[in-house]
Amino acid sequence: MEFAFTDEQLMIRDTAQAFLAEVSTSEAIRAAMATDTGYDRQLWQQICNDLVWPALHIPEQFGGMGLGYVELVAMLEQMGRYLLCSPFYASVCLGVNSLLLAGSDEQKKQWLPQLAAGTTATLAWCDGSAGERGGNWNADTISATATPDGQDYILSGEYRYVVDGASAELLIVAARLPGSVGAHGISLFVLPAHTAGVSRQTLPTLDQTRKQSAIQLHRVRVPASALLGKAGNAAPGLQTVLDLAAIALAAEQMGGAQQCLDMAVAYTKERVQFGRSIASFQAIKHKAADMMLRVEVARSGVYYAACVAQEALEGGPLAGELSEAASIAKSYCSDAYFKNAAECLQMHGGVGFTWEYDVHLHFKRAKASEHFLGTGAYHRERLAQWLLDQEGAA
């Protein structure tokens, strides 16, 4: 047991922090937001070639650096803090993880070195019904079908809320055996995004720092080699990928919550009203104290989840806690980021309400991240099922 960052982990965090503070400035974010892809291709190249970040937790035998989820989380925290517009999350936290969890050695050898080098990927699974009932992220939102046809599969159906779906070069998609329901009959496939029959649209979004897309598959033919794992058996692996993705998102959220605190403290120290820096008013100080509490608690929750995630990837003794740790981190961080962003806006007064200041970028991103992969309430209900609905538990 060991509950502190190693020196190497500290270095990774600090390097990421310093780099992102320099490149992901207010101007850079706004420029990236306005592009079709939502990111600066040159910066992405630099991140891939010079910093090799996408390779971080890919095993060395597949062209990666062989580091772990704790290191990944340390980096994601900084990306969330500086609102880095990039395909990193989609490519690494959805794409790489899908291949790590569900791919054969063959498939890993084929794809992971490419992803490590900067090929972009994403995961598409749910359809528009994930947007119903305030957000539904269960397996029943997978409606695309995979119909065996000789050695091939024919994929048909729709996906929504696909992160960076319109720009990703590689798609990993979930589809089910026609007629199957729930967690049964689900398979994962990997295919180049330019495969015939794939059509994609960027959806205009409230949060402009991360693109979402709709994707339609019109009788897309893929070979058997595109199937990740065993046909119809992908649900548990997919759930692991989504849990890992939730932890990664929580890390970003925690970084964002930290940044909102920092912005609020800096602004209120500077701003003078009634003859005093407004940071000297208790109402402001206590808001800031609560924000710091949320950040530090979120941090503890995320690091805890990162340790569990690492064990899940390694098959360690705590691997079975992954879903629980993911729901704990995602629920706490979703609320913490939104509350901190909202308080940051309030503490900025009028200027926080302007397009010019960066506060609104966090305020919008916080709500987007809260909803993606399930709100706090969604994850708490998931926890409640384990705590309260199992015979003999607790």
């Binding site: 119903e132 957000g135 005093r276 926080g352 010019e356």
Partner: protein
Amino acid sequence: MKLSFSPADEQFRQEVAQWLNVNLTGDFAKIRFRGGPGDEHMFQHERQQWEKTLAAGGWTCVGWPKQYGGRGCSIEQQVIFFEEYARAGGPGRVGHIGEGLAGPTIIAFGTDAQKHKYLPGIVAGTDLWCQGYSEPGAGSDLANVKTKARFDAEKNKWILNGQKVWTSLAQEAHYCFVIARTDANSSGHKGLGFFLLKMDQPGVTVRPIQQITGTSEFNEVFFDDAECDADDIVGAPGDGWKVAMGLLGFERGVSTLGQQMQFQNELDEVIALAKQNGAAKDPIIRQRIAKAHAELKIMRYNSLRMLSGQSGSDGSLQKEALIYKLYWATWHRALGELAMDVMGPESQILEGTPYQLSRLQAMYLFVRSDTIYGGTNQIQRNIIAERGLGMPKEPRG
């Protein structure tokens, strides 16, 4: 204490409903339910026409005394008018600052000349007004106003210099009421004047502020030797604070009921959406919707208590009026969050490019200003504690 209306009032209700039913049609059909907060920049032309149509029907300034061109409605009738107006989906009123704030202030504190000059345009729906209070760095604390007004005896005019901010609809307005310092050496609440200023003049520049919504309801307004006639000061130089405080009372009048009906329309849209996308089956969402509904119902009765003015017999703002801004602003902000959470991940998807928000998305973002402008929630709590509970003031630094 009694909630139901008299038969005569119920007949008045019929009259209002019928007039709206006949008139809010044709070209005006598309502005039903539009032009509320966060949507104020929309359909300006149609809504200005609508204001004149209302005026022609005698439905502007319904609560003003008849001698000033109003309809002289009782409070009950005003309540009914606002209820029916909102029920019919009456659009956000471009004339509301004139009717609700400038006009009543002129009626209460203005000279006969000012009344003759300004009230008819408001009643006719032809003269639109905006409010020049906030200044950069000063928040909404009038004690910090730095805009200066000096009297030029030669020109027989007041000359204003300074800058206002968060002025809504300044682009459309014909007039602005401005708080400015008539005594350059004064500070705090002393030495202020309350001016009625024509917007269309070389000395006035309006610069829109791009907001969180991407749109620009709010503006910066710059005065560079802007001119006011000698007669266009309400009260004496130095009376500005007193006049402004009087105006504060009008802000908590019957128009709050109109605002609430707007809220009701928004809540109804949220409820319809929840039923449609299944969020209405989520127990947490159900709690939040029920809470929003309950608190909005109470808001109405709180307004009615304010209108009765009973507990304010000592001239102070009654307690139910002191808490009102904090209450509605906080409620409205929560409604915005509720709307998004009902929509779930779909809340993120816009109606169109580049940044076309749905009504509820715009509301969600726009309400974040509710707890800031006109005194932040923090300032409101100070005021409540100090004026409502007699707690000691914070030492100034």
